[in-house]
Amino acid sequence: MNLDLIGIDDNEAATRSLREWCQQLGYRTKDADGDVSFVVVGARRWIIGIKADRNSNHRLVATCIFGTTPGYMSKEEWHKFCNDINARLNIGKFCLNNADMFEIQFSLYFLETLNPRLFRNFLAQIDDSMAHILKEYRVVLEAALE
C-alpha cells in the first residue's frame, strides 16, 4: 500500500495525503501547531510535513523539538553547540529555533511514491539516531533540555 503522490505538487495536499496514509498504516497522529504538518505519536513525537515540487519530487521533513532550560546556555553557546554537532555527526540537522527550542530535523527524499517499509525504516532510524545523539551529548542535553 504505497503512498501515491503522482501529480501532487502542493505541500498541503501532499502532507494531508501522507497523514491519511500514516493513519491507514496504524500510526497515531495529531495536529501540529500552525500549519498542515502533523505529529506522529510514537517513541518520539515527530512533526512531519512534505515539501513537494512541480517535478513530482517530494521531501518528507521530520522534526523533533525539545524545550530548553532557560539560562543554562546563552544563545551564542547554543549556536556553537549546534554547529559542533552538525560538523561532527552526519545525522540530522540541529538548531536553536526562534522560540529558543532545540530542533532536530531529518529529510527523506522520494519521487512520486513512498513505500511503507521505507517510511517505517526511516522513522526507526531517526529514532535510533536521536537516541544516539542524546546518549553522546547526555551531559549537556540532560541539563539543557526541559
Partner: protein, 147 residues
Amino acid sequence: MSLKLSLDVGMDSEAAGQALAKWAADIGFHVKALSSPERFGLRSRYNYTVTMAGTAEMRRIILIAAFNGSPNHRDPDGKARFANQINMDYNVCKIAFDQDGSLYLEFVLYFEAELTPSLWSTFVTKADEGIAWLNQKHKAEFDDLIA
C-alpha cells in the same frame, strides 16, 4: 539490464559506497576516486564528497560540498550564528563550519536495497540547486565567509 543500483545485504558501507561510485560513473556522472576508499568525489555543478552509511536495510548517502573559509572572517560566534540561522530558516540542507572555518553543506539520501537513476539524479540536482539558491539568497554572507 536494469539501470538500478542494487546492493547486496552483505555489503558493508565501504563496499556499498564503491558500488555506488561505479554505478554513478556508468550512468554518466563524473566520479573521482579519493585516497580514502570509503568515499569518492562527485563533480556536478559543485564538487561533492560522497560517503555511504547506515545499515543494509536502510542505506544513507551523504553528499557534502565543502568550501574553504575566508581568512578575513575570524568571528566564530558569527559563523555559528549564521549556520544556526540557515539551519533554522530553511529545509534545504545542513550547514556547519569546522574548526578551521571551512563551510560544509550536507545532503542526505535514505534508500533501501535499490536506488533508481531518477531518484539519484533528482537528489544531486536538488543539492546543486539548493546550494545555488542559498548562495544567491545570502550572497553577502557567503562572499564574506568563503575564500
